[in-house]
């Protein structure tokens, strides 16, 4: 269980997040979304114990996490992670030797699946392949919390598809908490169970993906009709175009009417409405 209790993080006078709380109780694959600079990497690093928060606590399975933690059950892989310039097979072997929980067989299977040449040295790999090696090391680590920061960076579309199905298989083999940050929203939706949206230093949304599928709607029509139909519903945004109003809701949809156009929001549209700011204010 990942428990984040009222954390704040400041870099000088800049506040990355303030009074941020989050409780992930169930194992699952969670997608961490947020605009550039929302604090996704900082949050992941804090959960991994790579940096300290200014206020609040982070605990994993009841054990408090900070930079002072000499052992954690977390695997964090950042993009551009540095590795020894050794053949990939050797790197994976070292990873197996330094981590007693490591599943060497699973790592080999993933390596074959991505057709990575185990004799090739790390520095000879492309950016996508380097990211893949880091991801394999992390997924095979079998830690109770896996944090993948932009794991599909540099992947082509085939690699991304492989990655998503590999992620699901890895989770089936070892159910645990996997948090992935990415900007490729629609693709990741196939693989994840939960969605965490970080915006302006706070958790704007944390729920299952099913809830987005069943509750995120856009209601369009004349302003009067839309306002009447969506009164009392949780609105996440609205857009006025030439007298026609589109209201974006996260709630049970209003009853169908000839005057209204009601349609489900895609995950990307839902995210955009959730974090869209105009002139710094929503």
């Amino acid at each position: 269980m990942v428990e984040i209790d009222g954390i704040a993080k400041c870099y000088g006078k800049t506040k990355v997040f303030q009074n941020l709380s989050l409780k992930i109780e169930e194992p699952g694959i969670y997608c961490l979304l947020g605009r550039n600079g929302a604090g996704k990497t900082t949050l992941m690093k804090a959960i991994a114990g790579y940096l300290d928060v200014s206020e609040g606590n982070i605990s994993i399975d009841g054990k408090r996490i900070s930079k002072a933690s000499m052992t954690t059950d977390v695997s964090y892989i950042e993009n551009y992670a540095k590795h020894f310039n050794l053949p990939i097979g050797r790197l994976l072997k070292i990873a197996a030797n330094v981590n007693e929980k490591y599943d060497e067989e699973a790592a080999k299977r993933m390596l074959e699946r991505f057709e990575l040449d185990s004799r090739k040295k790390y520095n000879q790999l492309s950016l996508g392949m380097k990211s893949m090696v880091s991801t394999i090391i992390s997924l095979a680590s079998c830690r109770s919390v896996i944090l993948l920061d932009e794991p599909v960076l540099g992947f082509d579309v085939i690699m991304r598809e492989e990655f998503y199905s590999m992620l699901e298989e890895s989770f089936r083999d070892y159910p645990r908490t996997i948090i992935i940050s990415t900007h490729i929203i629609e693709e990741i939706a196939k693989a994840v169970n939960g969605l965490i949206v970080l915006d302006e230093g706070r958790i704007k949304f944390f729920d299952t993906l099913q809830s987005v599928e069943s509750k995120a709607y856009s209601v369009s029509g004349l302003r009067k009709d839309v306002e009447e139909a969506t009164a009392g519903l949780r609105k996440i945004g609205e857009q006025d175009v030439g007298g026609l109003l589109s209201a974006y809701i996260f709630d049970n949809p209003p009853s169908p009417s000839e005057k209204l156009e009601i349609r489900k929001l895609s995950l990307q549209e839902f995210f955009i409405q959730l974090v869209r700011h105009k002139g710094g204010r929503k």
Binding site: M70, F84, L91, I94, N97, V98, E100, I137
Partner: protein, 218 residues
Amino acid sequence: MSAINAVVKRILSSNRLSFIITFVVVLCAVSSKDSSVALSNGNYFWLASLFIPFFSVLYAVPRLLHLGAEKRDCYIGSLCSYCVIALVVSLLNTFVCLFIDSINKSQTVINLMNVCRWMENGVIIAFLQQAVFLLLLLMLFIHVMIELQYFWFGWLIDILLVAGLSVSMPIAPLRSMVASFFSIIMVNGNAIIQISSCLILSVLFAFISLVLIKRKAF
């Protein structure tokens, strides 16, 4: 334990470059015979212990963490690798001091094991005195100094150390204090005092290193 072994092996393998440099320097020293007085070739092995903390802190440990090693294992692994190197370097220099230096009849050979009066206590004690000194002064001290550079106060400590040494050299009482410090930890024929003072300082440096690694952002 196997994780710590793997960390030690990796740190030592990552130091291939430092071993090569040391070996090249030793070779150069062996081939250079143009003065009447020469530093023993064995003393050049000390170079390896100078390099190892750099490769360990700046290169091997961050990469081992990315491979999934625990901070604890990296910390203990670093200390263990320093112990291994200290023992190996001490063994090599002791061997050179005993068997190789005497072969060179054309030059007066100075070995630091004699200068530091360690050989007065017999070979085994001298070997241990050298090992604890290398472990303490050359490796743990350098390790701590490198770790300190990640913090703002590390630079302050650098300045204070340089300023302190520069100021104390011209002032006789301060100079004698520095000299007596080195005569305890280094140039000391009394093995018990030398070894125990080196070990106490080693523990102190190891503790500082632990505090630093707990505060360091990776």
